[in-house]
């Protein structure tokens, strides 16, 4: 008995000791236990350390700018609707845009008029410019050249973003550094200064970035982030991209001398991306590539060198989306299962825009005696379907999956060639202008000559309207055209008051209002006077 009691007694002491020990053990480990590294994000301790960080942060700038341009189909709603060729079927918000009621109270319009999405890309670019050089010291794989090229791209994107915004809102606040972690309030800067800044940025960048990444370009030979040129073309901005952006900024400013020079540089250097390094070549595209997703050339369906300035949405990378493509607005049955398109080009407009019976984009096919369907399907119906761009998952021209993979195409060979034609025409170099115009529409079955084309400038813009229909250009083309023509006709009517283009522009009518949310968040932002 005694033995048993003693044994128990021992056990109780031991257990008591174990208890105490446990309490102790808990306390020892406390500091460690409280440090849990998150697997869901990168912190200041983990970012800007390696080559991979540079890649991820740089590509995010592209990604953010892509989102900024296409969010809520903004590239097309902002570019193609105002006084454009499209008629809206039902959507009241889009109708308001077509009617120039840009301050109408709809969620989509409110989001589109909020410029935060562009500034997100600008801030990311600034941050990259400021921080990426930290990696140089930490990761020997990240070379000075690689960093220079990356920083140049970030600056180009920043400049492009400012230009893109300035076309929409005119004067916008100019932030040239990230102000990381502080939230400054800036007023609008004049468009002139903004565009000068954008020009500087892109010009500086143009001197650094190569014509090709990951290929044999002597500026930057060798793989770029481990990948070759076929894998990078159409994704990142090249030296040609820079000059295209520069040409557009210059044209927007009416500086056609620079526009002509920059666009000449682009066209002169087509060879840098023409059948080199195993990639599909940069070239003018035929009808199959323009409207039928031809594999080697279509800048819409694939990331190709032909996507000179723009952002791809490759299906293979999980980037097919419903929103962010013109298809969501324009396609319907039989291309996708949808009874009516949200917008369409009415018959009269089509006939007016495509007068030439030989035009491969729209005319009566001499063989079949039918209307060509490349641009417009079912022309004779009440609502012809604008099906020029139709990249349905993965890259089909029709299908049931209403996720689209078409790129946001800002510029391609035809576009920059037409811009050059415009610049040359503005400078009075008629012959070169005709050459450029005919080069651009060479594959469309039509051509222009001084005898049949009395108004060259009008012809160039008419060709832009046809060629770039549904690519987000129409409104900006109308502005440039009217600036050149400076006609005294009535351009717009506000509150019953008729306005010429000049009056309209001076009143700020060519620009969009900013969302009330923007003004609420920063009281030093003023509403565009036209929309007050």
């Amino acid at each position: 008995m005694n033995y048993i009691i003693n044994k128990r007694n021992n056990f109780y002491k031991i257990s008591a000791a174990v208890f105490m020990l446990l309490i102790g053990v808990g306390n020892f480990s406390c500091k460690k236990i409280d440090d849990v590294a998150s697997t869901r994000l990168a912190t200041e301790e983990t970012n800007w350390k390696t080559l991979e960080d540079a890649k991820a942060n740089l590509l995010s700038v592209y990604g953010l700018l892509r989102s900024a341009t296409v969010a809520d189909n903004g590239h097309w709603v902002l570019g193609d609707l105002r006084q454009g060729d499209f008629t809206i079927t039902n959507r009241a918000d889009l109708k308001a845009v077509v009617n120039g009621q840009l301050n109408a109270s709809y969620p989509v319009i409110n989001r589109l008029t909020n410029w935060r999405r562009f500034y997100a890309a600008i801030n990311a670019a600034s941050l990259f410019v400021e921080r990426s050089k930290e990696i140089l010291a930490l990761d020997p794989r990240y070379t000075k050249l690689n960093n220079d090229v990356d920083v140049a791209q970030a600056r180009m994107l920043r400049g492009f973003a400012y230009f893109y915004m300035s076309r929409i809102w005119g004067d916008v606040p100019l932030l040239t550094s990230s102000h990381d972690g502080e939230f400054i309030k800036l007023a609008r800067t004049s468009q002139q200064k903004v565009l000068a800044y954008a020009t500087n940025e892109v010009l500086a960048s143009a001197k650094v970035v190569p014509f090709r990444y990951g290929g044999t370009d002597p500026i930057m030979p060798g793989l770029y982030y481990g990948a070759d040129w076929p894998s990078w073309n159409g994704i990142v901005f090249t030296r040609l991209s820079a000059y295209i952006i520069l040409a557009h900024i210059a044209a927007w400013q009416g500086n056609y001398i620079d526009a002509a020079n920059y666009s000449k540089f682009v066209l002169d250097n087509q060879s840098t991306q023409y059948f080199v390094d195993g990639a599909n070549p940069l070239d003018y595209i035929d009808m199959l590539a323009l409207t039928e997703n031809q594999n080697n050339y279509s800048p819409f369906a694939y990331k190709r060198a032909n996507l000179m300035v723009g952002f791809p949405f490759e299906a293979g990378n999980g980037l097919s989306t419903a929103n962010g493509h013109i298809e969501q607005l324009t396609l319907a049955s039989p291309f996708i299962p949808k009874s009516m398109p949200e917008m369409f080009v009415p018959k009269d407009t089509i006939l007016k825009a495509f007068p030439n019976a030989a035009d491969l984009r729209f005319s009566i096919d001499v063989v079949t005696k039918q209307y060509r369907t490349n641009y417009f399907y079912n022309f004779q119906s009440e609502r012809p379907i604008f099906n020029k761009v139709k990249v349905i998952y993965p890259s089909n021209t029709s299908g049931n999956v209403t996720l689209f993979s078409s790129s946001m195409v800002f510029s391609r060979m035809e576009e920059i060639t037409l811009l050059r034609a415009e610049a040359l025409a503005a400078l009075g170099q008629k012959e070169d202008a005709f050459n450029a115009l005919n080069r651009a529409c060479n594959l469309r079955g039509i051509s222009f000559s001084p005898t049949t084309t009395p108004d060259l400038m009008a012809a160039i813009f008419a060709e832009r309207r046809r060629e770039l229909m549904g690519e987000g250009w129409r409104w900006y083309d109308i502005i440039r055209y009217n600036r050149i023509k400076n006609s005294n006709g009535v351009f717009a009517v506000k509150n019953g008051q008729q306005m010429t283009f000049k009056q309209f522009e001076q009143a700020g009518g060519i620009y969009w209002p900013v969302s009330q949310d923007v003004i609420t968040a920063n009281s030093s932002i003023t509403q565009n006077p036209y929309w007050q």
Partner: protein, 993 residues
């Protein structure tokens, strides 16, 4: 982490079973004789007066100790009257029956998520995510149950349902196995529970092993949920509804855009009989059976409980199956040591609705919506047949429990417990191409939440003299939470027979994780994981003076890994004082049987549900936009950037905390026949984090700052009376709880007085649940009535537009003219529970009410705004089959111009603000106990043989114009998409042997 726990628990087991033989040496027993006998004496003493020590041989361990902690009966559920009501979830059980607890049941679909708010909202109420942060901790046998983490909403476009099974995990509570449900609101007790309980706590103790009593209980019920009465309509009604709009405002172009499905009045799909309700609403059986066995001796005893329940909704063939298994065991291997353990396993299989909105929200894919579902049963049945091809498996498996060791060493009681809760949810969803315009869809989800806790406690009672004693307690706990999910959604399978997205599982091959089916799926994958550790130490002391006065204090220090490194450790105190007035002043009084006053103050920190705040300035993959929120990168490569969408997070984010003050007076009168308690409380939830707007030119919409303070104060009144008590006649017991709460935003970060948060605005001095709305003052009948130059956000107002009040008289209606009005949360809540008994009969009825809350009738807003809704083809354009009906007290609204650019039927105007107050007869039960009849008395084995019938959700009194004022979403919007809460009738019995 896991290693530590395993080794610790192994040591514990070893200490019980293995160590005896190891240490039987002489040195030990020689020196320890004395202490052993002292200890022996203590145990003998405790047998005489078992209340001195909280450990008793038959009621061992954490849970019962916990029960004693919450000594009052006033904050508990009347289990006896709740048990015969076929509630599925904890929330349903406590709704209206726990003082100060507001339960929202926004959906009658069984097993869907419900919300509990204790003594007012501590945070915002604008998104579903916000609601997660308001939930109290629910303790089951001392296990603080881990809830689903809202981080999954990061990858969701719509937040109607969380991805995965989205099953209400508190459906795991089976009332038949519950001993008590208590709401803990006392500052001192909450401080003891720690940061988990920052929003209050619900403490559930199950029936558990007891000594000396072998009992078996068998309970079962069977019944039906019944369909509601509906007034169905068809295209004729819809056509007539639209007519006045067209007559008044339509242009030829508007007529061209007339809804295509309504154009042809010979189309029987829309103009035929409207009898969809025959297929949609159904009488559905609901049943349950359970068995509980308790037995054992003084030194070792156990309880087993098992049950199976099928709970059904009355609409859309929704139901949930629940299986519970519970095992509890107590052992006292030595008189000074007790070991107790409970394990609770639950499985929940949920059968979800087939609503279009929920499907499109899951698939994030909106097909052409121009032809809605037909109200005709013959055609609607075709839709249901296609739905039979669906796969929709929703399974949640829950395992939780604890192992507690308690030892008494002289006057010191040591206890240690290992607590765990693991739940995993999986959902496999497939919908065929026939239901989505030729595109099939698959999604697979697997996720788990896991919580492991190690608690150690030591307590010591120091007796100064007969009158003065002090109880000391020190303790420490480690808690580790892990949340994880894998989710993949995939489109466009090869055909409707392939319902599985099988992938190549061989990581050595190139096509690793590529989908195997030929033709493939288009797959989007999401993976997320989050860990959060909490470590706490505390010490407390309680001084008692002669059963008259008690003063308690606790000081604790908690560290959370979700806090920023320089501020994650916080020290918080709490105090409580009890004064027994009866003992002191009215000792001889016959009026009072009991009169106590107690007051407390306490602070507890609140830990973030998200680990983002700990990281400070950070980079995430946020590359998308509003419509496409989850774009991972660019050019096929991952991108990382500052969180421009979700908002900047800087340094200097400190943990929020709650300060509570409480004053309670409770009394008993007339030989304890009347109990009353009044509590006044004041709670300040301080230093909370909120996104405040920054200039958008910085790229961000928000920066997250701490400094939001929210105050809730209120009054709770509880009365419990035995009104009639006749030993052989009628007995009537009634209890009322009435609670008033006032919520007020006290401060915002950086001294701001207002912050706009999307469609909501927060203003200091107003309730956080306020709506921010335009004031509607009728209609402009003609252009002449419009004040000259008046605009709405820049658009000139015209005839047919609403007359919104221009508060600032600038002739421009804009957001400056929106005012804060109404409150999403009620001012008064409560319930009234009555039991009438006559011999073996009893009758119980339970009324609950919530008064003063408002709701936005978004359903009517979209119905009247049909032009924009149908043109939009977005998630708000979805027309469910159940919308082919009218409601009795439907309101009529002015006929505005639905084509106007001002969006005349916009929801953010007080036109659609309604009073959502209600009172409900929640349940009526009538029963008879045959156990006392001669039939059963003879056999002698039956302690109780109770037969009962219950009716649930009998009627509602309300002015609300929708289907049910409870079916309002958490954000205060009624969208009519949620299923009705069914009226249920059951018959059941309870046998206790």
């Amino acid at each position: 982490m896991v290693k530590i726990y395993t080794s610790v628990s192994f040591t514990l087991f070893l200490s019980i079973f293995g160590l005896q033989s190891l240490y039987a040496n002489k040195t030990w027993h020689k020196t320890s004789d004395k202490s052993y006998f002292v200890f022996q004496q203590d145990t003998t003493k405790s047998k005489k007066d078992s209340s001195i020590y909280s450990i008793k041989t038959d009621t061992i361990g954490q849970m019962v100790k916990a029960l004693q902690r919450f000594k009052t009966g006033r904050d508990t559920i009347n289990i006896r009257s709740s048990a015969p009501v076929p509630n599925l979830s904890l929330q349903q059980i406590i709704k209206g029956n726990l003082a100060g607890v507001y339960v929202q049941e926004p959906n009658g679909e069984p097993g869907t998520e419900q919300s509990i708010i204790v003594q007012g909202a501590s945070g915002l109420l604008f998104t579903k995510r916000d609601i997660y942060a308001l939930q109290p901790a629910v303790y089951l046998n001392g296990v603080p149950l881990v809830q689903d983490n809202p981080f999954a909403f990061d990858v969701q476009k719509y937040d109607y349902n969380r991805i995965g099974p989205a099953t209400n995990l508190l459906s795991q509570i089976n009332i038949e196995n519950v001993q008590s449900i208590t709401v803990v609101k006392d500052p001192f007790e909450l401080a003891k529970l720690g940061p988990n309980a920052a929003n209050g706590a619900i403490y559930i103790t199950t029936k558990n092993a007891r000594a000396g009593l072998k009992d078996i209980s068998l309970n079962s019920y069977f019944g039906y949920v019944t369909p509601p009465n509906v007034n169905t309509v068809n295209g004729v009604y819809e056509n007539n509804f639209r007519k006045p709009f067209y007559q008044k405002y339509a242009t030829a172009e508007n007529y061209d855009g007339y809804a295509s499905y309504l154009r042809d009045s010979t189309n029987t799909a829309y103009y035929g009989p409207s009898n969809w309700n025959d297929l949609y609403y159904k009488n559905t059986p609901t049943f349950s059976a359970d068995l509980g066995i308790t037995g054992g001796s003084d030194r070792a005893n156990f309880r087993f409980f098992g049950s199976g329940t099928k709970n059904a909704g009355n609409a859309d063939d929704t139901k949930i199956n629940r299986y519970n298994l519970f095992f509890g065991i107590n052992m006292a291997p030595f008189k000074w040591l007790t070991v107790s353990s409970v394990v609770n396993a639950v499985r929940l299989d949920r059968f979800r609705n087939k609503s279009l909105r929920d499907r499109f929200a899951e698939t994030r894919y909106i097909p052409d919506l121009s032809s809605p579902l037909s109200p005709n049963a013959a055609i609607y049945s075709g839709f249901l047949t296609e739905n039979d091809k669906n796969v929709d498996n929703n399974r949640s498996s829950i395992l939780n429990g604890n192992l507690t060791l308690s030892a008494k060493v002289n006057k010191v009681i040591l206890s240690t417990s290992l607590i765990f809760d693991y739940n995993e949810g999986s959902r496999d969803y497939f919908t065929p191409s026939t239901l989505m315009d030729g595109v099939s869809y698959i999604s697979n989800y697997f996720g788990y939440s896991q919580r492991l806790i190690m608690n150690n406690e030591a307590s010591y009672k120091y007796t100064i003299d007969k009158k003065n004693t002090i109880d000391f307690e020190v303790g420490q706990s480690l808690q580790g939470d892990t949340y994880k999910y894998n989710y993949a959604r995939a489109y466009n399978g090869p055909n409707d027979y392939v319902k599985l997205n099988l992938v190549n599982g061989n990581s050595a091959t190139g096509g690793y994780l590529n989908t195997l089916s030929s033709g493939g799926f288009y797959v989007f994958r999401y993976i997320d994981k989050e860990k959060n550790n909490l470590m706490s130490i505390y010490g407390s002391a309680k001084y008692s003076y002669n059963n008259i006065f008690e003063l308690s204090a606790i000081l604790r220090r908690d560290g959370s890994s979700n806090g920023q490194p320089d501020s994650r450790w916080v020290t918080t105190p709490a105090f409580n004082a009890n004064f027994n007035l009866k003992e002191q002043f009215f000792k001889t009084s016959t009026t009072f049987d009991k009169l106590n006053i107690s007051a407390g103050w306490g602070r507890s920190i609140r830990i973030f549900l998200d680990d983002r705040y700990a990281a400070g300035p950070q980079y995430r993959s946020e590359n998308g936009w509003f419509e496409e929120p989850t774009i991972p990168g660019y050019g096929g490569r991952l991108g990382i950037n500052r969180p421009y969408d979700s908002g900047f997070i800087g340094y200097g984010i400190t943990l929020p905390y709650a300060d509570r003050t409480n004053l309670t007076i409770d009394a008993s009168f007339f030989n304890n026949r009347l109990n009353a308690a009044v509590t006044a409380y004041n709670r300040d939830d301080k230093n909370q984090i909120i996104g405040i707007p920054v200039p958008f030119e910085t790229g961000y919409g928000l920066t997250h700052k701490t400094g939001m303070n929210i105050n809730n104060k209120g009054l709770e009144l509880m009365l419990n009376g035995l009104v009639i008590s006749k030993p052989n006649g009628i007995n009537w017991n009634t209890s009322v709880n009435l609670n008033y709460n006032k919520n007020e935003l006290k401060a915002l970060p950086e001294g701001l007085t207002e912050v706009i948060n999307g469609d909501n605005k927060l203003v200091v001095g107003k309730p956080v649940g306020s709506f921010w709305l335009y004031t509607n003052n009728g209609i402009y009948g003609s252009n002449g009535e419009v004040p000259a130059g008046r605009t709405f956000n820049g658009i000139p107002l015209k005839a047919g537009d609403p007359n919104w009040v221009d508060y600032n008289n600038d002739n421009r209606i804009d957001s400056k003219d929106k005012v804060l009005t109404g409150d999403r949360l009620p001012k008064f809540i409560g319930g009234w529970n009555n039991t009438l008994a006559y011999k073996g009969f009893d009758l119980n009825f339970n009324l609950i009410f919530a008064l003063g809350q408002k709701a936005m009738n978004q359903y009517e807003s979209t119905r009247y705004g049909f032009i924009n809704r149908e043109a939009g083809n977005d998630i708000n354009s979805v027309k469910e089959v159940s919308s082919w009906q009218t409601f009795d007290n439907e309101k009529t609204y002015p006929i505005y111009n639905p084509w106007s650019d001002v969006d005349a039927y916009r929801v953010d105007q007080d036109l659609f603000l309604e009073n959502a107050s209600y009172m409900k007869l929640r349940s009526v039960t009538i029963g008879y106990d045959f156990g006392k009849t001669t039939l059963f008395k003879k056999s002698g084995n039956f302690r109780r043989a109770y037969l009962y019938a219950t009716a649930m959700n009998v009627f509602t009194v309300t002015n609300f114009s929708g289907a049910d004022p409870e079916l309002v979403n958490y954000n205060g919007y009624y969208d009519g998409a949620n299923l009705t809460i069914p009226r249920t009738f059951v018959l059941g019995f309870k046998l206790d042997l």
